[in-house]
């Protein structure tokens, strides 16, 4: 399989830090679709939208956004990133993404996971304490639904059984279901047991931090009888590509710091990640995909060497990078980074084969 480069957005509705301008939700929605179009034109393989249920994000229903993107594109794969499966209904999730698959001619994918926020749990009447059980159960149901129609599924603590249930429409493509893993070993093991593709999410820290979960994933898959060839690994990391190394960092930092506030608490309050901390993450051993074209190529190659990935998804624009800069980075990623990475990895795999 050819190496894939993707982008992911959360559709932030936050102010431009230079002008103070705040996009309206409808403006942001149009911008998000523009990102999908530009990504396809630039030669990017995958476009992802993450699910969030908050005023500062436009995409509580990624399948809707992706459906609109499907009508404006023709080849780019369309994925959620992530679908918060634990607080959703597996039948509904399947129906939504199967519909997307029909609308897009087989380009729909799901990354199932918890995501980085927890608002959806109280919103849909779930207890966050049940997170692990909810996820296991609903993933099980979703896979059963995808495997066979009509479907009989025994049910669980949180979801009633399905008995000879007709769940439609059926997708034209495979409707890949990835599992987003943020480092929890049990989650990696479970993904391996199921033989599902794994989307490793690396937020901050050393690039090698997921080696143990990745190894557990492969071990569990082998133990469950899944062939190594059937497995896929992607990395999902924040990033921004610029024409210069310093310029890329300067553009991304203030937005990333703002976006990270809620995930970076000190004394119970959001705290801006200090610039030296950000710069450390941008160095070779750090996880962030930020910098010049060459730096991004090199870092994706490092990820490839460490994890044997066949897909790299750059979460771009976190914290609300203005559209102009966002589109420039998409262009550079698609036209300058992606061809070199694909060529380099293809030649290495030829040598290996």
């Amino acid at each position: 399989m050819a190496f894939e480069i993707g982008i992911l957005t959360f559709g932030e509705i936050t102010s431009d830090l230079t002008t103070g301008a705040l996009p309206s939700p409808s403006e942001r929605m149009m911008q998000t679709l523009e990102q999908a179009r530009v990504a396809e034109q630039a030669g990017i393989d995958v476009f992802g939208v993450g699910e969030h249920h908050r005023t500062d994000f436009v995409a509580s229903a990624p399948h809707m956004v992706l459906a609109a993107a499907a009508t404006q594109t023709s080849t780019i794969k369309l994925t959620s990133g992530v679908t918060v499966l634990s607080s959703d209904d597996p039948v509904r999730v399947f129906e939504n993404f199967a519909t997307l698959d029909l609308l897009s001619g087989g380009r729909a994918e799901i990354i199932a996971g918890r995501g980085s926020y927890t608002e959806s749990f109280p919103l849909f009447g779930y207890d966050l304490a049940d997170y692990a059980d909810l996820f296991r159960e609903k993933l099980d149901a979703l896979l059963a639904i995808r495997a066979k129609n009509p479907v009989t599924w025994e049910g669980g603590m949180h979801r009633a059984p399905l008995v000879n249930a007709d769940v439609t429409p059926r997708p034209v493509g495979d409707l890949p279901i990835w599992v987003g893993v943020g480092g929890t070993p049990a989650s990696a093991v479970r993904t391996g047991q199921l033989g599902l593709p794994i989307a490793l999410a690396l937020l901050l820290g050393p690039i090698t931090q997921m080696q143990r979960p990745a190894a557990l994933y492969h071990q569990a898959a082998a133990a469950a009888g899944h062939s190594e060839d059937s497995l896929r690994t992607s990395i999902n990391a924040h990033g921004y590509v610029g024409t210069t190394s310093q310029g890329a960092r300067d553009t991304m930092y203030p937005y990333f710091a703002r976006g990270m506030r809620e995930n970076n608490h000190q004394r119970g309050e959001g705290f801006d990640i200090p610039r030296p901390a950000f710069d450390a993450q941008a160095t070779e051993p750090g996880v962030l995909l930020v910098g010049s074209v060459q730096e991004i190529i090199d870092k994706i190659m490092t990820y490839y060497e460490v994890y044997g990935i066949s897909r790299a998804i750059m979460q771009m624009g976190f914290g609300g990078v203005p559209q102009k800069e966002h589109l420039q980075a998409i262009e550079l990623l698609g036209t300058e980074v992606a061809p070199v990475v694909r060529r380099e990895i293809a030649s290495r795999e030829e040598v290996a084969a």
Partner: protein, 191 residues
């Protein structure tokens, strides 16, 4: 009248390119972004026989005497050490065994430690803090710890460590600013 603050790192690491100094460097960078500072260090493992052979202060060589003076007259002391055999290395303690009992009284001291895992993190509270409690130093409330997994070489890759440093340095900033604004120099007082 403002003057640069002298910051002295007492480095308890035996290694040349040390994680401990990598972490201490983040502290001095943070301080340097907020204040005018002059930083130097005293590497306890490189002070030689004029230090290791000294049983009392009278025994130390002239250059070691100078280093000890630098520690005693610093405006801000950074006590930085790896954990070795459950605590700071003996060499690190040996330096403080030679420091005058009251030289560090009310002196701002920042505690920095590194260890093989987070199991050693309380070395800051259980080993370093009591030492400076004895000296009646003005030890900063937040100490800084990182484990070897937080580093690539000597570069800290754990974002939380940076944030903690910002918070911890921020806590003592008013005190340090007041110190910098004081007309008299600490070194004059000490002489």
């Amino acid at each position: 009248m403002t003057r640069p603050l002298t910051v002295v790192i007492v480095n308890g690491s035996p290694t040349e390119r040390s994680k401990t100094m990598g972490l201490a460097g983040l502290v001095t960078t943070s301080l340097g972004n907020k204040l005018d500072i002059q930083t130097s260090s005293v590497d306890v493992y490189r002070l030689g026989s004029g230090f290791t052979g000294a049983i009392t202060r009278e025994d130390v060589s002239p250059d070691v005497e100078e280093d000890l003076r630098r520690v005693e007259t610093a405006d801000v002391l950074i006590a930085a050490t790896p954990v070795y055999r459950a605590t700071y290395p003996g060499m690190f303690k040996h330096l403080f065994d030679l420091v005058d009992q009251y030289a560090l009284a009310n002196k701002p001291v920042i505690l920095v430690a590194t260890g093989g895992s987070d199991r050693h993190a309380l070395v800051i509270e259980h080993a370093l803090r009591p030492l400076f409690g004895f000296f009646q130093a003005a030890t900063a409330p937040v100490g800084f710890y990182a484990n070897s997994g937080d580093f690539d070489g000597t570069l800290v890759l754990n974002n939380e460590v940076y944030s903690r440093i910002e918070i911890g340095v921020g806590d003592i900033l008013p005190q340090l600013t007041a110190l910098a604004d004081a007309a008299e120099t600490a070194s004059v007082n000490a002489l």
